[in-house]
Symmetry: C2
Subunit: 641 residues, 2 copies
């Protein structure tokens, strides 16, 4: 399992509703589609070369390596997603396809366990020679995650054996012992993968290896700096401002107090730190995780749950520097926020972690995939004027519409594996019961003290406020059910079997301990008024503006609803706003409507005469669903008037 | 003379006041300081190498070329500025220094007339081989401007002879004739220089050569494209978005409808087009100039009079894309706006041209130089948070404080030559009299129909509203005096000899035709209320904000007066503002003060509770004087509340 407290994937069945639809889409459309993309069979999309590379490395076909150093990782993430699918939905054809692919991978693997088609086919002499840039251990990490997922889904050890051989090679190769390389990867990922491998195999040496990578990172003498010197290789362009801090490698990780550098790397590092803090009971890592969490959410988090505001190097910058148009907010980085948050829930059950997990999921991550599951965003801005984005250099990585694949295609399979394993994020098993984090219509199954319990959770969340849970133990059973009361929610109410219950959440969770009877009915109401959210004024680009939020869903204005030039659209302080369910729009969602004001163009560029305005029927849609109606303007932060 | 209607420099004497002080500063401090810089004698500043390069090329000392392809142009601009100084203030030592320098230049010049130390010392085999990138004709243009200025100031033909020889070489080399190169320079400048040379020497062939460069630009087959192919040299990084349009060379100049590409180049091209439109009576060029002027001022001009909003390539982008923090607004580009505007006044006397000239001068150009004349800005943002500017790539060319010199030091000597020739911009001689554009305290001397007239202009403009002019013809004389009534001014009043006069400006000028008596006294009042200026809402980054302006002066908030985090400072719609003369602040200026509001930091990054605020004594200072009190935040566009 991915998280120590998570329910096994096959014990959560998403039945219907908003998240269930995404899970189904990933299962039925995205995973097959991406298999086509990885086999270079999608017309019009950038080629992948992933399967091709392994076939060449296995000697199954002639040819040359195609792509980037880390190309293999796209396939690894897809295998992981496909394995999650098998865990919940038997599919003999897919399983056979995976078996064939894994056979190819096994054939491609070197006798010593090495597996990386770029270095096998292109630079065999340079293995482990450029840890700073070449992502070898990162790719290995994704391969290990895939092997663990495949084993857990199918019980087969075919890929697990491959990745164990690879991990064993890494264990022999890296470390502070004689003849070992005292290095670590420029792009974190191997660390969290090794913890998964330790948990799946019961071999703590893999967790120790992860701990080595975490502990050695940024120590003096600095391995990556020495390695750069050895190659006479100056720091590359993306390290222009921050040097080795771009890779969280300028100093030991326990000394970090603000997230820094490449956002995905920082989040993967934090996820691994939280994992190891738990696994090894490392109090200093626990402290570091809390410090960095606190900085992350109070100074570096977009309202959409995204992180990384600097396209140049895909990085964190200064506290509160979160411009909407230059938001990088990479899909993978928001997924990394979810990874980190979920692991923090394993360190401490606190609603704030689940709040952020939910924010990133419903907003930034959803934005990363089109409604039909075949197109993806890598960059997720909070404001877009297409003509400007196409002309300004700092926006040159922004796509104004989602695309079918990317030359660097880290994000699409990352979305796939996240939704395919969404069950991991729904609940935490506790020694005395269970805690529910995400409210998505689902049937859950788990055991408490050896006794099985089923939950039937019924809701139209995030569109409606009501969550109904029928508790079905086989026989009356005492356990603690903790229900998350979201941080955005005020005035939640709870009834059990029609009887109103006092609600005094502890760390963001309502704690219900009782002897549960088969058929007990819980009815939770989470009021979702439309909120006008303001940013701390130190977030300078949002000054004078509000964002609309309802429940966990952040809204945006889009051109199809409100016309172009959205900067001219203002929301009067006194305007009343209403939420309306629209069953047909964007696959069905709640829109926010009200009377806005549009400022008319001026007679000259600058003027001292007050602007003319006209009334405007304003409509906001969920940010996660933007850009599904053609290219146009969008903005989250709306001028208040 | 630089402009066909300009008074000779020695017929305008700036006596005292705000502009006079800058003119004095340039004369007494900046020009000597820059001579030190050009000789690499300023400690702590980036080296120049300019004088050194010529000495090496002349064989006067051993050594290697230092700097960029266009290094010579820094020196040329300084010579031009120094010559302007000699035109108004005799200075035997400076004149002798120039004589020595010019002797060196003459010695460095090749027998065929070629003069460019980079190509002479580094790549003699590659003369004229890379017109796209290497600025050879641009450097020649500055040399020609210097030669004309030196001749006009001193009557000496030493440098004029050098640059004529150079221009003659260019005339032989370039054109559509057999054996000639059908090319033109990637960086415009030679064109306007050749018009000056034609006017100074009376030889229209130089204007014809300028016309060739203008007419050939962007024609098919495209010379620069062919040249790139010949060198197998792909387009460089700064042409990433716009290709040859970066150099205004994608199509013939008469087909341009929006300013495009590198802002300085576009402005120099427009200046030359206006010159030639006048010189050759070319109606199609006149039309193009008006079209591009109109687009420039209605869609591409910062409120500070700056242009170029994209640092990457120092370029124009989309209409209304004028972000304040990423404003490039290069000092040279604003000077280019002034060059273009002044020439448009020669095409048509219309106040709008002078309004923009004044806006660029008092705001963007003034910002380019420190109060003490020894430090300079290349980039002039309208909003600065120093810590953020130092971390974000798109701001990496922003200096948070002015510096002593630049590796690419185009701007400092450009400021010097502009202020040293400020007399050019004050007035236009007319067949029937004179038109006054800029109100700076000065004594003017000119002739109308052979009779000399003197003006004593007394004012504290731009701080005070009153302009007094005593008209002193030798004897009663009929002529037309046109006085500009600025576009920003409403309710101007005029009295002659104490008698109020009706005021009905024609195209922005009060037209006073009468028989002027010695001692006639004109009293012009130009009301300067504090204005809250709003931008067209299509200028999205200024939505909901106002800029403060009084007279021609645009104001900004600075950290020393208002604390940090200026995004949190708002100006209530109802706040009354007062202007106060402060004789000691920033060399003496008018500040704007009033009751503002500061939004307090929130308890969390995003909040639904209305923000706490506190009253703030707000003070705005003239934008042109910012950054003279250490590093800190600044912003022009202020949130209105």
């Amino acid at each position: 399992m991915n998280y120590i407290s998570a329910l096994p994937l096959n014990q959560v069945r998403f039945t219907r509703g908003f998240l269930a639809e995404r899970v189904r889409l990933v299962r039925e459309v995205v995973i097959p589609y991406q298999w086509e993309a990885l086999n270079d069979r999608v017309a019009g999309a950038e080629p992948s070369g992933c399967v091709h590379n392994f076939q060449v490395a296995a000697g199954e076909k002639p040819g040359k390596f195609y792509g980037l150093f880390w190309q293999d990782s796209d396939l690894a993430k897809w295998i992981e997603a496909a394995a999650y699918r098998l865990a919940t939905h038997a599919d003999a054809a897919l399983e056979a396809e995976l078996d064939r692919l894994i056979a190819t991978l096994a054939k491609a693997q070197g006798a010593d366990g090495y597996l990386n088609t770029y270095f096998q086919l292109v630079e065999p002499q340079n293995r482990w020679a450029n840890l700073r840039d070449c992502h070898e251990l990162y790719v290995a990490g994704h391969m290990i995650e895939a092997g663990v997922a495949h084993f857990q889904a199918t019980g087969k050890r075919t890929l697990l054996a491959v990745v164990r051989k690879l991990a064993d090679l890494i264990e022999r190769t890296f470390g502070l012992g004689p003849g070992q390389i005292p290095g670590y990867c420029g792009h974190e990922e191997i660390e969290l993968a090794l913890v998964k491998l330790a948990r799946a195999t019961g071999e703590t040496r893999y967790a120790q290896l992860a701990a080595y990578f975490i502990d050695q990172r940024g120590q003096s003498p600095n391995y990556l700096m020495e390695e750069s010197r050895r190659r006479a290789d100056p720091l590359p362009w993306h390290m222009y401002f921050d040097g080795l801090a771009t890779l969280q490698a300028a100093r030991p990780v326990r000394e970090l107090t603000e997230p820094v550098g490449h956002a995905v790397r920082q989040m993967y590092l934090l996820a691994a730190m939280a994992d190891l803090a738990h696994e090894l009971g490392d109090a200093s890592l626990v402290r570091s995780c809390h410090t960095l969490w606190s900085s992350l959410v109070s100074r570096h988090l977009y309202i959409t749950g995204g992180v990384g505001s600097e396209p140049y190097g895909e990085k964190f910058t200064e506290p509160f520097d979160l411009p909407p148009d230059r938001a990088y907010s990479e899909t993978c980085a928001a997924i990394g926020v979810i990874f980190f948050a979920r692991r923090m829930l394993d360190l401490e059950l606190r609603g704030e972690f689940a709040d952020v997990m939910e924010r990133s999921l419903y907003n930034n991550v959803l934005s990363g995939m089109s409604l039909d599951g075949t197109k993806f965003f890598y960059v997720n801005p909070l404001e877009l004027i297409p003509a400007v984005a196409k002309r300004r250099y700092e926006c040159h990585l922004v796509k104004t519409q989602r695309v079918g694949w990317f030359g660097c295609a880290c994000c699409p399979p990352n979305v796939a594996r996240l939704f395919a394993s969404l069950a991991d994020y729904v609940a935490s098993l506790r020694p005395d019961g269970i805690a529910l984090h995400l409210y998505a219509e689902s049937d859950l199954r788990f055991t408490v003290g050896g006794a099985e319990v089923k939950f039937a959770l019924r809701t139209d969340y995030p569109w409606t406020e009501e969550v109904a849970i029928e508790v079905r133990p086989a026989a009356p059973l005492e356990f603690t059910l903790q229900l998350r009361i979201p941080g955005w929610c005020r005035g939640a109410t709870l009834a059990i079997n029609g009887q109103s219950q006092p609600l005094a959440p502890v760390k963001g969770y309502a704690v219900l301990r009782r002897v549960w009877q088969p058929g007990d009915k819980i009815f939770l109401t989470l009021p979702m008024p439309i909120e006008r959210v303001r940013a701390d004024p130190r977030l300078s680009t949002a000054a004078g503006k509000v964002a609309l939020q309802r429940g966990p869903v952040v809204y945006c204005l889009e051109e199809p609803d409100n016309g172009a030039n959205l900067a001219a659209v203002t929301l009067p302080r006194t305007a009343s706003l209403t939420a309306r369910r629209d069953a047909t729009l964007l696959g069905g969602c709640v829109v926010i409507e009200g009377q806005g004001v549009r400022v008319q163009p001026s007679p000259s560029l600058y003027t001292t005469t007050p602007p003319k305005t006209e009334a405007l029927s304003l409509r906001a849609i969920p940010y996660g669903l933007w850009a599904n109606r053609g290219e146009g303007e969008m903005r989250v932060w709306i001028q208040e008037s």
